[in-house]
């Protein structure tokens, strides 16, 4: 269980996963934050108002998937590194997964990196397709990798 080891399970993920229909429309955010903690930078990060906390800063973030356009600005703003963006429309056979990253070395576009699941298990080698710096002060990088469609909801970490 998530509470025992920190690994989100299917029942947790069901609460934060957009519908297949939404996933087919284009990139969309997945906020894997399951605990009421006092924290709200994601709400401020979203310029479209897609992430809200109606009950105050201890709320679990509420995502409006129709307002979200998958811009990924919120990824590097989350102190918990719990936000990802998935684009299943990236190509016929591959999806793009955007992952927050705070290690060295920072990978380069075109490089192959190891993709890991939520338990740290290696899922294979995937191509880095985009690298975004969070800025000099923020220092959280957003790494986009291309993964087979069926792994889009599995790959959540990388090892360079």
């Amino acid at each position: 269980m998530l509470l025992n080891d920190g690994i989100p399970r299917a029942e947790d993920l069901a609460k934060v996963t957009p519908t297949d229909e939404r996933l087919k429309k284009g990139p969309v955010v997945i906020v894997e934050c399951f605990q009421e903690i006092p924290c709200d930078p994601c709400v401020k990060a979203c310029k479209r108002g897609a992430i809200t906390m109606p009950g105050g800063i201890n709320d679990i973030p509420l995502v409006d998937f129709d307002l979200c356009n998958g811009c990924s600005l919120c990824i590097s703003m989350c102190p918990g590194l719990a936000i990802f963006v998935v684009d299943k429309t990236w190509s016929e056979d591959r999806a793009r997964v955007l992952i927050p990253y705070e290690y060295l070395p920072v990978p380069e576009v075109g490089q192959s990196v190891t993709g890991m699941d939520r338990a740290g298990k290696e899922l294979g080698s995937f191509e880095v397709v985009k690298v975004n710096s969070g800025g000099k002060k923020n220092k959280t990088w957003t790494i986009s990798i291309a993964v087979p469609q069926e792994l889009a909801m599995e790959v959540r970490g990388i090892n360079v």
């Binding site: 998530l2 509470l3 025992n4 080891d5 920190g6 690994i7 989100p8 894997e32 934050c33 399951f34 605990q35 009421e36 903690i37 006092p38 924290c39 709200d40 930078p41 401020k44 105050g56 800063i57 201890n58 703003m77 989350c78 102190p79 918990g80 590194l81 719990a82 705070e102 290690y103 060295l104 890991m116 699941d117 939520r118 338990a119 740290g120 298990k121 002060k137 923020n138 220092k139 959280t140 959540r156 970490g157 090892n159």
Partner: protein, 361 residues
């Protein structure tokens, strides 16, 4: 003897915020800090803070620390003594300080105690060997000194400190063998736990350390799975090779000066130990002595900063500064504290504060 309006003991997040808020209302403040560099534990917090914008959420602790230190250093109303240790608070209000290797006396009108907390120790055979560190010590070596503390670490405790330091070790290129905790549930933020699981650092709840071994320094440890009764299950031992064991098993408030000053104290387990009883504006039962931060109950640094602000404003107001603005500032800080403690993660703090209120009567 040096006289000053407000003496702030401790230059961490609470102390710096206390000094800055009191000085902004016009009070003259002296901060006494034990370490060579002010900033308290912020100087090694490379992770981003939680909370809300007003507590600098999303900024990294080190940057918050640098900003607070700069603000304090650039404030003409604030003087900072570093590498100076407060030794005692006497009945007549005189405070003695070891400053520039001399025994120095200070006579403040108000005192804000922001001494923070220290890491708890854990009893197990071999715990006195070099290589057994407080998790914060390892953070200091890595993030302040830039020194690799070890090659392979066993982390004991899965609260926020244990989880965050495990992550920072991995960032520094140190292998973390496992994070273990005796209880079945993780007590730190789950997002931290998920983050380190993704990085292939196992979190073993229901596990405890049996003993550490090594010839003159740590070379490994034996951990064991515990049952429902929290007792070790024979045959479930695991030998873990490591050259350091980090203890992240809670903090205890550093209250010696509060005891000495005669503040009314109470043991409140939810606030992590003996704490001074304070009122809504953080004044202790000794008039003119205020507390802020972990010393009056161990919490996140975000709360410590808001408490510092509250204590600073309150002390300045009692000296006649900030009439008009101060009451609004106090109310605002109290509201922020309520928000930070509002969720389920604040349950124990709210329970502890209710006990504190009961003790005031």
């Amino acid at each position: 003897m040096k006289t000053i309006e407000i003496l702030v003991i401790g230059g961490g997040p609470a102390g710096l915020c206390a000094a800055i808020s009191a000085a902004s209302l016009g009070a003259k403040v002296l901060i006494v800090e034990r370490d060579e560099i002010p900033g308290g534990q912020l100087v090694k917090q490379t992770h981003k803070f939680f909370g809300s914008e007003k507590q600098y959420a999303g900024d990294r602790g080190i940057h918050i620390g640098q900003m607070l230190v700069e603000n304090a250093q650039n404030d003409p109303n604030i003087e900072i003594w570093h590498a100076s240790t407060v030794l005692s608070i006497y009945e007549d209000g005189v405070v003695t300080v070891e400053h520039e290797e001399k025994h120095t006396k200070v006579k403040p009108e108000k005192i804000i105690v922001a001494t923070g907390a220290a890491e708890n120790f854990l009893g197990f055979p071999g715990n006195d060997m070099p290589g057994v560190y407080g998790a914060g010590a390892v953070q200091t070596l890595m993030n302040v000194a830039g020194v690799m503390p070890a090659k392979r670490v066993l982390m004991i405790g899965a609260g926020n400190i244990g989880l965050i330091v495990a992550y920072q070790l991995k960032q520094a290129g140190v292998e973390v063998a496992a994070v273990i905790r005796r209880s079945p549930v993780i007590d730190g933020y789950l997002v931290h736990a998920s983050k380190i699981q993704r990085a292939a650092i196992p979190i073993l709840t229901r596990h405890t350390i049996l003993h550490a071994y090594g010839d003159g320094k740590v070379e490994g440890a034996v951990i064991v799975k515990v049952g429902e009764d929290k007792k070790p299950i024979p045959g479930q031992e695991i030998d873990i090779k490591c050259d350091a064991i980090c203890l992240a098993v809670g903090l205890s408030p550093l209250t010696e000066l509060c005891w000495q000053a005669g503040c009314k104290m109470a043991y409140i387990s939810e606030l992590s130990g003996h704490v001074p009883i304070v009122d809504d504006n953080l004044e202790t039962t000794v008039k003119g002595i205020y507390c802020a931060g972990d010393v009056s109950g161990v919490e996140e640094a975000s709360s410590a900063m808001v408490e510092g602000r509250l204590a600073g404003v309150s002390a300045a107001l009692s000296l006649g500064y900030g009439k008009g603005a101060a009451i609004g500032l106090q109310k605002e800080a109290q509201k922020e504290l309520r928000q930070l403690r509002d969720g389920p993660m604040g349950n124990h703090i709210r329970k502890g504060l209710a006990k504190m209120e009961h003790n005031r009567l």
